[in-house]
Amino acid sequence: MKIVKIAGITAALALGVAACGGGETAEPAPAASAAESAPAASGPKFAGQTLTMWRLGDSNPPAQAYMDDLNAEFQKVTGATVKLEWIPWPQVNDKFTAAAAGGAGPDVTEIGNDQVPLWVSQEALSPITALTSAGDQAQIPKNLFGLETIDGEVYAVPWGAGTRAVLYRKDWFDELKIEVPKTWDEVVAAAKKIQEEKGKDVDGFAFNGGSDANHLLGAMAWSEGGDYAVKEGDKWVGKLTDPTFKAGFETYTGLVTSGLSGKSRLTQNTVDIRTRFANDKVGMYLTASWDIPGIETDSKGKVKADQLAFFPLPAKTGGEAPAFFGGNDIAVWGTTKNAELAQEYIKLATSKQWADRYAKDGGLLPVYPDTLASLASDPVQAPFAAAFAKARSFPADPNWTEAGETKAVLQNAARSVIEGKASADEALATANKELEDILNQ
């Protein structure tokens, strides 16, 4: 599967077109003929120029359609053609690293909000402060710029906010007469029932131990009142050994030790889980609603959107667990030779009209407050809007990505506990020291 994916990506990059996970090739946004005719219209300032744009994730049909329309609009306004490339989420850091080292980067890139501090510290993004105080963008609440503002400069504009909820197989729940869980115990019972009926190799509730594992672990730890680290003065102090964090951590490792998720898949990330979900091997997992089109593609149409639904992750302590405050931003890549045009693109993409549609088509929450307020009545988006109210985030530090993804500090701690190599206390004490070392370096 990995090979197919890699081959697909390589081919996609070589051709400069977008290819999606399911092997279906999508056309690049602007057709060649349109590019030729554009310069003839004398008006646009940037006629004949090309802008490279990196979108993250899979090019599922709604996302592709959105990009096609956005890029066509951009061409109409500025005359410039957009070369669009899709980068799968698990490869984002590697692609950014290669682009920053080799100079073959995009002009504009989508970026995860928690990745912004890291890439600013690597000097890979250009400041775009002026852009955010005028026009539509001035309406985006300032508290959404927390991770994006570093030393008084803004490096990225929030494009859509994303929180996580539990995606489940509605058709299985109906078939097995399972009620939508309201408490953590009901989630466990539902997962057990699914495994009894659908086979032992099905993950009732999938454990995520890959690059984005902290979305799941974080929700469980936050719901107990725990946190990763707090800043005291100019130093980060790790809080992993707190009983509250430990309680969440034990719920997390308990997914595997109690058999709800297979012991052989301790390093799977959301993309891996999604593939198994599409193949009837997962009952529930924590994710965002943008996974649905990918599941339809991966399952070759066998698992359809109406067989799937979301519910907010219940906390073990009662109520809903706080979700990860995620979001996708859009930023100007530092080495761009086309900074002015790149800013124009961001201005258009994050304008109210296009940002709202980005959120709607991508299953994200809109960053414009009035649009968000109107979502509370939407049955699909309501679980996310509810989670969004309680959203929390990871330590806002450039080194967080290293601790959370590259060094996988807590994923390794969880594995040593699951393998019986260390107790939760020992593993968390080691992890705490490592987390402090990384955050304070």
Partner: protein, 327 residues
């Protein structure tokens, strides 16, 4: 053609005088090779050495106005030595090399001797078979073996489940192998890695030994047989001493190959995931190229690995030269 004619011909002076003093011709011929090695190997090695004393990240290596690298002295090295992962990587690297080099040479030699006993047709058949394993690219090997040991769909767990329960319990202390994960922890990862590298590297040893064996005059074996020597004794008294130079080269090559094994381990673990199972190459890669890249400490690890390898090889070459002198 007799020996004398060869001697006479080679002593004949060249008809046309070359512009270059014959004494320098070998050096002139070496220049292109040395230039290529210097550009592709010596210069990068020198750079790695320099970088290992510097703080080098993305801002330092990018194309557009790169920042000057900061000189850190020994800091990269002291940090590496304080890191637990370095010590587990070092242990994994050395342990793996010792076990795998030994197994490769023993199995390779045994197969080489066997090939020498086989009929021509059969030996060709076996050679083609084992060379196919040798020819599999390292990344493909990693993927193939990862699939074989897959917890749910892998053939290994399936085969272990086919064993009668009493036998499986007697051998491994368990009867049920369904869903047994192999790539979660260092020990089982290295079991797979050793088998994989052995599988892919013994054919080269076997074929080299076979080539050596073909060069030993059959009279020696006939004499041994007349004297009533056992096959074991024949091997140690005739084959082994005569093949010593072959073994020396094969050992050094195997040590070098097994010390720096990377692709197979990387694909087997599906990237640098299980940190306790890192070896020095994977550790160096993870430090140097995973975001945020720390090329300085990655380079420091690479320098340490190179030095260890140089010491081991130098020691071995010295032993070899010594024993040649004794003879």
């Amino acid at each position: 053609m007799t020996d004398t004619s060869i001697a006479r011909r080679s002593h004949r002076p060249p008809k046309k005088a070359s512009g270059l003093n014959p004494k320098y011709i070998p050096y002139a011929l070496l220049i292109p090779g040395i230039a290529v090695i210097a550009a592709l190997l010596l210069y990068p090695m020198f750079q790695v050495f320099v970088i290992s004393f510097q703080k080098v990240g993305l801002p330092q290596i990018r194309d557009v106005n790169p920042k000057p690298a900061e000189w850190l002295g020994w800091e990269n090295y002291t940090k590496v030595f304080e890191n637990d992962i370095f010590w587990s990587s070092l242990r994994n690297t050395i342990g793996f090399a010792v076990i795998t080099v030994t197994l490769t040479l023993v199995v390779g030699t045994a197969v080489g001797v066997l090939l020498n006993q086989l009929s021509k047709r059969m030996s060709t058949f076996v050679i083609v078979g084992i060379m196919a394993a040798w020819a599999v690219p390292p990344v493909a090997q990693g993927v193939i073996w990862r699939w074989l040991f897959d917890a749910e769909a892998g053939i290994i767990n399936w085969a272990l489940n086919l064993l009668p329960d009493f036998l499986s319990t007697a051998l491994f202390g368990r009867a049920d192998w369904s869903g047994e994960p192999w790539t979660n922890e260092a020990v089982s990862i290295y079991v797979i890695l050793i088998v994989m590298v052995l599988w892919s590297s013994f054919p080269f040893v076997a074929v080299s030994v076979l080539a050596g064996l073909k060069g030993i005059p059959t009279e020696l074996y006939e004499a041994a047989r007349v004297d009533g020597s056992s096959p074991w004794r024949t091997f140690w008294k005739i084959t082994f001493p005569l093949l010593k130079p072959v073994f020396a080269v094969l050992t050094i090559l195997s040590i070098i190959w097994d010390f720096k094994v990377f692709s197979q381990l990387y694909t087997l673990m599906n990237g640098p995931t299980v940190r306790e199972a890192f070896n020095l190459s994977v550790f160096s890669f993870a430090e140097a190229f995973k975001a945020p890249p720390k090329m300085g400490s990655g380079a420091a690890i690479a320098v340490i690995l190179t030095i260890i390898l140089l010491i081991v090889t130098a020691f071995y070459v010295r032993q070899m030269v010594k024993s040649e002198e004794v003879q």
